[in-house]
Subunit: 411 residues, 2 copies
């Protein structure tokens, strides 16, 4: 089975970690100077492998491996959240780079003209909108959307940032579907499932769907001193009753890995002596199973309808978004499992991804698979995010091993 | 019993309503042009009764009745909340004006040198801080507080507004305790107790205390997709558990007229895909009975402590303010009841005030009483606030009748 140079893998990751270093993490927001340094660093690394590499018009880095044999596409993102972890995105980039090198150095694969093209999608982290690189790559990002996008932290227009980075007028690269057997992405888990079960590898079965809602209650704003309890129409109280019903109902009907979250609650007008006349919350749940999603949706709709009927406040449910679960193809899952049996026997598991990744954007267009390694303490989107060197190396071996196997299969 | 001129009372109220008219209500924020017009209107009316009247350095209007006999102080506030009702404050001003006139026109009281000084306290509604006029009047408002105060709507400093109104450097009037037998204030109920019981007069026994709290829960901010339900430390969920315990506990231990309100809830950081790591709410309860207040406080403290102990989030209770109930003196209550027996037999009731009034600031310094008339639909702090002409007139008769009786008593 194809193997990697573990020291080189770790050395590259530590090099990349120095670019935009912040405490033990990194600060590389999309199109910042440090982000562009990281992209150029990657181009140099890929050219050293013998690839043709460049940064496209949306700042995605893409390389083409030499040879006219079978090809895979592999990668992730290279920018970070603000003041966040050193591995979120970067791990998948360096795994792809190392897999490309391992394939290039394998005599048999080289002879067959096989290769791993490496891609670092721009702005997966959503500084300007989210998944702009992968969406652009599959033809799902309009010029109008780019025109309208501004950095969420400092408000600078995306066009201005692209021009500053020297990317104004540079064409955007799109997917050549026939070139690739599959797309592979590795990532830190961003949760604690693997760590808490003592495992080293998660083979992703699907990327969960996220169903997001706004729940709105309307009552009667009134004086908090003179309005008797019995006659109140407290919209905040109505919203909390809905939360309570959700908390009572969902554990019984959810699947083992379903998650649901009240991310925001707002009572209006919000004065200490005013009974809220309007209350709303942002609520979401996630699961990979369409049946579970439908069941949770039906329960939520019933709860809101019943609160509305019972009164004294009105209640309504607004759907913000309902994505489709992205299923990872069985062929890639099997390749990961076979490689994990070799490099991490009894230490791997099949699992859904609770977070979104570029892989979900690519999945409808190309056979796609994802690999997870543990996050220490489940920490994510924070500079203290980390993974042990041992787990990093094992993940890199499994990733490259699966890539080699997929490239070796007859077609 | 002393009586009033009902047409004159209504005519004055309708005149005052024209100043800053907004829909069927008024918009007269403290020290606005319309507010100052209203204050000058009142000065003119009082001078026409034979009083010496002026606007003091905090914009409180005060008059002195002639004669060296017994005196009462009567009044309320004349500014309004933004775009609010025409009677909130104004009713008490015109009742005091009409009582002053009725006393001035009564041969016997006039012969005894009796009189009703009228006062319109500035900024009861808190455009700059709340109760500034009455606090200044009892010597409880420092120059530093005035220096620091700004209008809550447009941020203009109070000093600048006072200067614009021509009040810079004008002395502030303070209470002459020995001059008065009592302070009397009338007000709309701002609730629906009187209306729903078919009553016309509420004789206030006390002004409830307001105990205000901030309840804070701290958990762990984390990814809403990758953090399993079992391992979450959701600060918002912890805060909702506290609300639920309050809602379960308080009805059993509260008194009949106790009220409690969650006015604001904040989950941080408030993103749809982030488990809140911090959550807090503003919570208050009101009652006139110190024992009930203590019982509710103890229950709240227990609930928060138990949530903190149970985990997984920490919870703490911060006291924002705990006022003392202001007891109305029996002598004034009796005078109101006697007058109500004459003008509204079987249509009056003793009741606490759930809202705060200038009377609570004056009560520690002078024997104080308050009278309520019904609010249609219990509406308050809204331009649609209203009271029937019949109820307005009955209230005016009871108010003046009680004033006449208090002035006639031998001392």
């Amino acid at each position: 089975m194809l193997n990697i140079n573990a020291d080189r893998l770790l050395s590259d990751l530590y090099e990349l970690r120095q670019i935009g270093a912040y405490k033990t993490g990194v600060h590389r927001p999309t199109l910042s100077e440090d982000d562009m340094r990281a992209r150029r660093w990657l181009v140099d690394k890929l050219e050293a492998v013998g690839h043709v590499a460049h940064i496209d018009g949306i700042a995605t880095v893409i390389s083409r491996a030499p040879g006219d044999g079978p090809k895979l596409l592999a990668g992730s993102h290279i920018e970070s959240q603000n003041h966040a972890g050193w591995l979120d995105g970067a791990l998948g980039i360096v795994y792809a780079l190392e897999a490309a090198r391992a394939v290039a150095e394998d005599a048999d694969l080289k002879a067959r003209g096989a290769g791993v093209d490496v891609i670092a999608f721009s702005d997966e982290e959503g500084h300007f909108g989210g998944f702009f690189g992968s969406k652009s790559f599959v033809g799902d990002l309009s010029e109008d959307t780019i025109d309208a996008a501004c950095d969420r932290t400092h408000g600078t227009p995306l066009r201005e940032m692209l021009a500053t980075a020297g990317l104004a007028g540079v064409p955007r690269v799109t997917l050549e579907r026939d070139r690739y057997r599959a797309f592979l992405e590795a990532h830190i888990e961003q949760g604690d499932s693997l760590e808490s079960d003592g495992l080293s590898i998660g083979v992703v079965t699907s990327i969960v769907a996220i169903w997001q809602y706004r729940v709105v209650c309307e009552g009667a704003q009134n004086h908090a001193g003179t309005t008797r309890m019995a006659t109140r129409k407290d919209a905040g109280a109505a919203l909390r009753r809905i939360c309570r019903r959700i908390e009572e109902t969902f554990p019984d009907i959810a699947a083992e890995r379903s998650v649901w979250t009240v991310g925001r609650m707002t009572l209006e007008p919000g004065g200490p002596s005013i009974i809220p006349g309007h209350a709303e919350m942002l609520f979401q749940f996630r699961d990979a199973d369409p049946d579970v999603l439908a069941r949770l949706h039906a329960a939520l709709a019933t709860i809101v309808t019943e609160e509305d009927s019972a009164g004294p406040c009105s209640a309504r449910l607004e759907v913000i978004s309902q994505t489709t679960p992205a299923v990872m193809v069985r062929e890639v899952q099997s390749a990961f499992v076979t490689a994990a049996d070799a490099f991490a026997p009894t230490k791997h598991i099949m699992m859904p991804s609770g977070a979104g990744h570029d892989a979900q954007v690519i999945a409808p267009h190309l056979p796609t698979g994802m690999l997870f390694v543990p996050s220490i303490g489940g920490i994510s989107h924070h500079w203290s995010e980390n993974t042990s060197d041992d787990d990093i190396v094992v993940g890199g071996r499994v990733f490259a091993g699966a890539a080699g196997a997929l490239l070796s299969q007859p077609r």
